[in-house]
């Protein structure tokens, strides 16, 4: 699924990263547990989470995650945005809950990791 489609379907705002780059996401995963995210060996995944801190951005960097969607109006801090721009992570904010974000993306064809 194209990044632009994810942004539109979840009514998201881009707060960091380069959206011009051709991001094509193949699967999505949802967790607030970073050790769990670090076990994934799938590529081109979208992470949907309620955890908004620097560890999230670091975890995305180590796990090769290109796009993170912060659910339910969780706001990225200035430090998170700075680090995300440095590592090339696209950070999105959506008013939708994790449940609704996942539901709408799944319904529109974005496959789950598990």
């Amino acid at each position: 699924m194209k990044l632009s489609e994810i942004i539109e379907l979840t009514n998201a705002k881009v707060v960091a990263g380069d959206t011009e780059k051709n991001h094509n996401l193949l699967r999505a995963f949802s967790s607030d547990l970073m050790s769990d995210v670090l076990t994934l060996d799938t590529e081109h995944i979208l992470l949907i989470t309620g955890l908004a801190n620097l560890q999230l951005v670091r975890t995305a960097e180590m796990a090769d995650i290109e796009v993170v969607l912060l659910a339910r109006n969780k706001r990225a801090t200035p430090e998170m945005i700075e680090l995300a721009n440095e590592t090339g992570l696209v950070l999105l904010e959506t008013p939708y809950s994790i449940y609704r974000s996942g539901g709408v993306l799944f319904k529109n064809g974005l496959a789950p990791v598990y």
Binding site: L54, M62, D64
Partner: protein
């Protein structure tokens, strides 16, 4: 090539600096991205453990032509029962650590899974030393 990093206790904002630097370096050396991912996940979990569970320590990484060896050592308190600590789900993490997205008892198993060689030594009151290696 040798690299050294200090890791301070409790400073979560800096956890990930060593893994990030090493990731960039391995990318420049054009190491296979799958190999890079495995080693940086192990290094990151090890960094988080020193920040979360110890009084502080340091990391030494050595990159040679065939792989990377990493030594993570801290100055205590040490691990009482290593076998237990290695079990998935075992954790003594505080609520503060769990709020950071860690503390599910998956760190040491993640390190084990993502490395080609892994040893852990610990002495109560002295400290813990993790040594691991991945071949390119």
């Amino acid at each position: 090539m040798k690299l050294e990093f200090d890791i301070a206790s409790g400073d979560f904002s800096k956890a990930g600096r060593a893994s990030s630097r090493i990731k960039k370096m391995l990318k420049q050396l054009q190491v296979d991205p799958k190999v890079i991912k495995r080693i940086v996940v192990a290094i990151y979990e090890a960094e988080v453990n020193v920040v979360a569970h110890s009084v502080g320590g340091k990391m030494l990484a050595e990159i040679d032509g065939t792989g990377i060896t990493v030594i993570v050592q801290d100055n205590g308190p040490g691990i009482e029962d290593i076998e237990k600590a290695m079990q998935e789900g075992y954790s003594t993490a505080t609520k503060a650590v769990r709020n950071m997205g860690f503390g599910a008892g998956m760190g040491l198993p993640n390190i084990n899974r993502n490395t080609d060689e892994f040893t852990i030594e610990s002495e109560l009151g002295v400290g813990t030393v993790l040594t691991f290696r991945n071949n390119f």
